[in-house]
Amino acid sequence: MTIKRYFIVVNGIVQGVGFRPFVYNLANSFDLKGNVHNNSDGVHIDVEGHKETISKFLQRIEHNPPPLARIEKISIREEIVKNYSFFEIIESKKTFDIITLISPDIAICKDCEEDIKSSTNRRSGYAFTNCTNCGPRFSIIKALPYDREKTTMNEFKMCKKCARDYSDPTNRRFHAQPNACQDCGPELWVEDNEGNRLEIKNPISFVQNKLADGKIFAIKGLGGYNLVCDGGNEAAIQTLRALKRRPFKPLAVMMKNVETIKKHCKVTELEEELLTGIRMPIIILDQKQTYDLPRVIAPNQKTLGVMLPYTPLHSLLFSDKLETLIMTSANVNGLPIEYTDSAARKSLSGIVDYFLTHDREIYMPIDDSVLRVVEEKQTIIRRARGFAPEPFKALNMRDILACGPTMKNTFCISKDGFLFLSQFNGDLENLETFEHYKNNIERYKELFSFSPKVIAHDLHPEYLSTKYALDYDLPKIAVQHHHAHIVSCMFENDLERKVIGVCFDGTGYGTDGKIWGGEFMVCDRKEFTRVGHLDYVKMPGGEKAIKEPWRMAVSYLYKALGTREDCGRLFELYGEAAEKLTKFLDSNINCPQTSSIGRLFDAVSHIIGITDKVTYEGQAAIELEALSDIEIQEAYSYNIIKQDMYIIELYKMIKEVIIDKFDGVSTKIMASKFQNAIVNLSVSMCTYLRRDTGINEVALSGGVFQNPYLLKKISQNLKKEGFEVYTHTHLPSNDSGLAIGQIIIANSIIGND
């Protein structure tokens, strides 16, 4: 058999992920000769051997690459045989340019976990152990190309042993940029709450003991500081809640291992895969009968947000006695996550008992990601650690910055055929978060050598992200909020042609200046036609009506019942305040009109008697969903009127809810009948729209589709009617996926100019 020589170029996330040693070892195992090196346009492999062997070699590269690699393209050309005598890794070409693809931070791998747990390994107990398959990336990179000098690990010089690991192609730590050990790497220590370093031999066992005593720690993790306490200690958790000023919003927990999680929660195969995979996000799991953690962790919930220890530091914190830790980002009441030591000390010293900190600087702050599995499919609620800045592919894009929404902000930039969606930046409600947002945009610009040519932003004139956008002296494109939601769903499902868009959302600014959020549209990636929506109702007090659901309840009741006289029994429910509110509604002062489903949820959940005052976004909807039973089929009525578009009226439903309420029907039944009405009206609307337009594809988006009950039932029932239903998998359906829609729409609009 004759020897052949091929020159192969592999593109994608192939650098800094152990690709060259993988190729080296693979080539040797097939007895192939040649070499491999990093080049600005990817990994170059020059290989000689039998044709069949090389094709097997290629198959292995394509189908079983290193866990962190993401291959975009492999190109091959034949060359004249050189008769190489061995296979080697050669120096990277000095023409080395910018690599646009940066790996997200990766959770600790099995091998590293073994290293730190084994008493004989030289990295035993070392909190900053990592290898090419795991460890910090995005959070420590200051500039590209990705090598140690350009990360916050540049402070640490590798010891001889580490340097040997680093330069040995057969070693798991070959070119692992943050490679370190206790002799040469970052150090861990404990401070009291005044910032005094404590002289302790073994900080980990000190922390374990104090946690067991009910103390609260600020722990410097991967992307920022976390507030941590024992997940079994109700008093400690209550204290932590008070300190964080977060009375009801569920707290995330970190558990020792999957076995511990399974004691409290149901874990499906996909959920286990996501929990233990390379990203290790928080997964929202259903609680089991045997769940016996304090109720204060997730009040009024049937679910729990759980994650596994995703860094060696976290992994070391657990013991036989300490299996569950509250692990929530260290910030107070909506401020950005603390990530610098000085700021953390300043803002947390009055809050925590101790700090567990270290000297590896966090350059890019990043929160934990949150996922939930619905109908055996992942949905992303918060896309951050482990995901950002992994890009999405999109061809023929101009260089656009999409500034995103104001709540749950992410922004997005397009460069070189990729969309880089930023990590979750939080709600731009205060100056601190707004500054954090602006800083992160600057860092993305710098890191990706990006300068926008066009700015895309939401239509809402009062979003801080819109105000930020308007400061650019560049062409700007305003994108309607719900159109952007639907297009984000079209994008991730590769839909180009017109679809029926069902957008169920909280708040979005409409083209008529009203607040939309229960929208049916026919749209493509450029334009939309609003074809139906929930009938407008007033929001007495504007944002106040969002924070106090009773206002929406009275607004709906007043509209449903018509006159103040007819509201006799309503006033029994709400007392004097309701009568005042109806006068206020009559006055029309600060009573914006809304078609939002989020507000309908607020109203109904309040009438049913679930939510009194909202302390976190979506609380009413989340608590209502938690109470419902998907097996219940009964539903309340609705009415669809065809005017110039379809108007959905729910006043009959409101009356039925009151009747049920006065009849003493259980909240479970009321909550289910209400959601079933939403399901039914969605199916009716889509059926009308298919009849009108002939379109059979339906895209579902908007924050309300985080509600698994609605997502499940609406998709199932639409499918039963023969619709092609498209939902989110890789992008959040809430506002943190919006920037993708903005960027795609803006690009389509420019493209056709």
């Binding site: 104001t406 709540m407 601190e432 708040t507 607040i515 504007g542 969002i546 005042k580 006055s587």
Partner: protein, 334 residues
């Protein structure tokens, strides 16, 4: 003669009667009484301040005042806060046919009292009557002339980092009273307009320290909009402390109910003064000796942060931008 008719504005005998029986009866003074086409004024100041304002408030009568009081105070205050001694006012009435003569008389009487109280003379006037429906009751325009104190330099562009910001009392009283009375919400309670002439208060402030950098009355758009204008003109940032803002409980309650922020609600007897830190206490104490400054309070300060922003350290923690009012309140949160 219980209601205004179109002939009251026609220039004939009825007009004369109205002017004599109502306006001269109350406004009478040496200059006005000369009845020239224009008032002749002898003024002892090198520089004059000159301003005008129109008043269209609904309801015309409200707790704490009426449109007449407002028309005098508004113009007097505009003169006072620019470092001038208010001297003379003109006033022009546009009256709706059918308007109650008795109400008109109360309004004029109030104006005369307020002019007396603030030491200004009404030296010229005009009356027009328009058909029913063309105005809402009565509109009043007043213009005013004041003499600028020579040793005072008050200017919107004078705020300096380190300046302390003082208000002379509770904010949002006027706007909240008007909104609630107009709509009969039933949560008016003890709401009352703060409508008042501030010139004697300003005099007292300048007596103890004539180097005050900026004084502005916080009318339409409230304290927030005045501070934004000053931040722009002076090219400085401003930080407020939410816990220091003086707000009446009833204003707070009504604002809560309506989803309004008292910082953006109109005042008719409130000023913001920018005083260098070293003199701030002295000015504050002087203000507190005046009836209109009894609740004077320091609410924030000027910083040298870049970006000309006005923000507030909130009670719940964190900094909130206090943007220019946009005119419409639109929910943003999901």
């Amino acid at each position: 003669m219980s209601a205004i008719t179109l002939s009251h504005g026609s220039g004939g005998t009825q007009t004369n009667q109205l002017i004599n029986d109502v306006f001269f009866k109350y406004f009478s003074n040496d200059i006005l009484n000369q009845m020239n086409d224009a008032a002749h004024l002898a003024i002892d100041f090198k520089k004059l301040a000159f301003t005008t304002d129109s008043f269209v408030v609904n309801p015309l009568f409200f707790k704490g005042g009426n449109i007449g009081k407002l028309a005098v105070c508004g113009t007097v205050n505009d003169l006072a806060v620019s470092g001038a001694k208010p001297l003379y006012l003109t006033c022009a009435f546009i009256i709706e046919e059918g308007f109650s003569m008795a109400d008109l008389e109360i309004i004029v009487k109030t104006m005369a009292e307020e002019a007396e109280n603030s030491g200004v003379k009404i030296v010229a006037g005009d009356t027009k009557v328009v058909e029913k429906g063309n105005v809402d009751g009565v509109y009043i325009n007043t213009s005013g002339i004041g003499g600028i104190y020579e040793d005072v330099n008050i200017n919107c562009a004078n705020a300096k980092p380190g300046d302390v910001i003082i208000v002379n009392g509770t904010i949002g009283d006027h706007g909240m009273t008007i909104i609630c009375e107009r709509n009969n919400f039933g949560f008016e309670g003890d709401l009352s307009s703060d409508c008042a002439s501030l010139n004697t208060l300003v005099d007292r402030m300048l007596e103890v320290y004539n180097g005050i950098h900026v004084i502005r009355d916080a009318t339409r758009g409230g304290v927030a909009s005045v501070l934004n204008e000053i931040s722009d003109s002076s090219n400085v940032s401003i930080v407020l402390e939410e816990n220091l803002l003086p707000i009446k409980e009833e204003v707070k309650g009504a604002a809560e109910m309506l989803g309004f922020d008292p910082l953006y609600i109109a005042n008719e007897g409130k000023l913001c003064a920018f005083v260098p830190e070293a003199q701030a206490q002295q000015v504050l104490l002087a203000m507190r000796t005046h009836p209109l400054g009894r609740n004077a309070a320091i609410i924030g300060r000027v910083t040298n942060e870049i970006g000309k922003k006005v923000y507030m350290n909130t009670i719940v923690g964190g900094k909130r931008l206090v943007d220019r009012p946009s005119g419409i309140l639109l929910p943003r949160i999901c």
